[in-house]
């Protein structure tokens, strides 16, 4: 297990290097640069800016400088938000995104798995059809439609919750908007795998031995039924991260997601790179954790 962990972590290094290299080249290959303006800059000023941000150096040297900075957790200065470094921006944005993302993921798993299990136990009943219909709607309505609707109803008409910002109660609407599609997906996934597990021999045996239904489900059926759900958690995290780009914008939350878009549009090279690298590390780490969880859930999987 230990050697597996080490091997996985070492294996992540080339992945990261490729990620950094490709995004480094891609963002610079995009037409237009951080110093392009409606009104072109004076050549002297542009030259000074290029020197100040080391854009006058050859590309390999810039890349080496960037990697060296990364080793020291220094993502460089932001081109756009001139009073802050990228490291500071990530440090201030990440907790906001983390709170939102974690809450959304927890809500999605809790509600999704519960709803899916209930639907599976009452297969083809009204409850089942109800849950599946709602989940179909959840998958079909994209969050950039759902979010403004929630704002309209709960903030503008009812005034129960704030429409945006960082104050109290401001987490509720964005979490719902972000979690809904995942709830929908997770409930369908859980339902499918639960139905399958409930038909398997060991569950039948457990029932035949006279165990109470709740014990059969919670102790025996749930764990194997959760396997596909767990393997979906990796992609779900990625969905929530990309979804937060939209949600944070609509709810004016100062999270990392907004830097993705703003950074790309402004050709804020360092900011885009910083966010990409940061999320890259995060996703690699999360996928690794999911793999470990698999080993714990499924006795057939053993890592060496």
């Amino acid at each position: 297990m230990f050697s597996y962990t080490i091997r996985r972590l070492l294996g992540a290094i080339p992945t990261l290097l490729i990620l950094i290299g490709i995004s480094f080249l891609l963002i610079r290959a995009a037409p237009g640069g951080p110093f392009d303006r409606e009104r072109s800059l004076l050549p002297e000023i542009e030259a000074n800016l290029r020197t100040a941000y080391h854009l006058d150096e050859p590309l390999y040297q810039q890349f080496a400088r960037y990697l060296w900075g990364l080793l020291h957790f220094d993502f460089g200065p932001s081109f756009q938000y001139r009073d802050y470094t990228v490291t500071e921006l990530i440090a201030s944005g990440f907790p906001v995104s983390l709170t939102l993302g974690t809450c959304a993921l927890l809500v999605a798993v809790l509600v999704g798995v519960t709803a899916g299990s209930v639907a599976a136990l009452r297969q083809n009943s009204g409850v089942d059809h109800g849950v599946m219909a709602i989940s179909m709607t959840g998958i079909s309505i994209p969050n950039f439609v759902m979010a403004p609707l929630l704002v309209l109803v709960f903030a503008v008409y009812l005034r129960w919750l704030p429409a945006g910002g960082l104050g109290q109660g401001n987490l509720v609407l964005p979490v719902i908007a972000l979690a809904l599609p995942q709830i929908a997906y997770l409930s369908r996934l859980t339902r499918g795998s639960m139905i399958e597990v409930l038909r398997s021999n060991f569950v039948r045996t457990a029932r035949a031995q006279g165990l109470p239904t709740w014990q059969v489900i919670v102790k025996h059926a749930l764990k194997p039924a959760l396997l596909p759900v767990v393997s979906y958690l990796g992609p779900a995290t990625a969905h929530i991260i990309t979804g937060s780009v939209v949600i944070e914008q609509i709810f004016s939350r100062p999270g990392l997601g907004r830097y993705f878009v703003a950074g790309a549009l402004n050709r804020d090279y360092t900011l885009v790179m910083g966010v990409v690298v940061f999320y890259g590390v995060l996703i690699i780490l999360f996928n690794f954790l999911v793999d470990l969880a698999y080993a714990w859930l499924d006795p057939k999987v053993r890592y060496r």
Partner: protein
Amino acid sequence: MRKTYRAVALLAAALVASCGGSGGGTAGEPHAQIGGASGTELAEHQALHVGNGAELQTLDPHRAEDTSSFSVLIDIYEGLVGESPGGDLIPGVASAWTISDDGKTYVFNLRPEARWSNGDPLTADDFVFSFRRGVDPKTLSVYSYILSPLLNADDITAGKRPPEELGVRAIDDHTLEIKVANPTPYFLGLLAHSMSYPVHRASLEAHGDQWTRPGNLVGNGAFKLDEWVVQSHLKVVRNPYYWDNANTKLEEVTFYATEDKTAEMQRFRAQELDLTEIIPAAQIGFIRENLAKELVIAPYLGSYYYGFNVTRPPFKDNPKLRRALALAVNRDIITKQVLNLGQVSSFGFVPPIHGYTQQQMPEASWTQQQREAEAKRLYAEAGYGADNPLRTQIMYNTQEDHRRIAVAISQMWKQVLGVEAEILNQEWKVFIDTRNQKRDTQVYRQGWIGDYNDPFTFAELMRSTAGQNDTGYNNPEYDRLVAASQSAHDPHARMELLQEAERVLLADMPILPLYIYVRPRLVQQWVRGYEPNIMDHHRSQYVYVLKH
């Protein structure tokens, strides 16, 4: 439980409404109680919540270039000259000034009571330091051209002279002398620009890169920085050391980052914002119906136009074709039907500015029918016709309004002249890059908001050497007239030269003028002291909030 049903019902209703596209309903309850019983009662807590558009770039007044930064900077700094609520120039840190007979030397008397937000006295030396910093190439200021009229400023920015040679001198603690290279009638207006704000030398030197942070930043405006959460909000509070603090009514102002216009409007409707930065243009119908009292539309010092790439065929050396295309456009359809915000159709480049006689294409007074007949005639003279139509491209930066305008114009060209115009959009940075290269563009959209209230801020753009002249227009006569206006001593003669320059421009038609901008905003009815003005500068020191 009943409330939940109501919520579900509303959600369903909203879903239906948004699908139907009708969008009925009213925002909140009516506010009969604004201003209490007397109608003028002030709110107990004087706080203002302002939508401020995209996150601001910096609080360094010499490095800022975006309107989001400017909106905050005018509250936490003050230049020698200030602005009234209506945008007129009034004394700022300088209580009075004299101008020499040749118009090249200004002497400012600084208010002895003027202080920095930490209590330090504000002196003429502070301004000398700040002006030098503004033109110093090491400051990396992209707006240093604002200070270009100062003696030696251009040489310093180009690195040919040291900043110490700038024509600014402290005669004593409270007297400042500024020399300009040419008599510049709009110079006082430049002194209200953020490039002319003073910065506090001691805190810059003490905090290095961190000097603009809350706790470090020392300003001299009516408010001082209190809190800044990037991408969320920035709060300023009353500055007790401000010389006119007695007249400031607001205790605090919070600026919110609101880059999503629809989300901003919703926050306004939920009464989380007192003022918005802008409105979502597509929802103008809904706003006129439901937020009519809150909608404030002001004329804005900006010109929206199309540029022709005159360095390449088909527009190279072909003024007849350019004129034909300009005449074939029915501007009123664009302003009244496509945009419908009160934009003013325009046949000239420079928007209305006090003291300047607005220039128009001679055909401006014709009927649209006459213009179209003339367009057909010129189009044929340029060698095009039904069997040989002009094929061209309109390029614009990705945005809904620009797209709608481009579609309308290509249709008008097609109907009137039979032109086959393809419309193409590019993301902003790509767009300005392509436009600047003058290779792939034929017709492109452009707009310019004046930096200061003088026709020169527009006239200079079309000079052959100007950084923004992406048409490639190069007429020595135009350049000569604009240059002559810079050294003209008599204000009237100067305006004459600039008007003549615009007439030359409109005879050559490297651009196709379309309309003069307006600035739409939502303002809650309890906000007082807010006056629309052409520069769209709004100092919070004049604003207050009624009880509501």
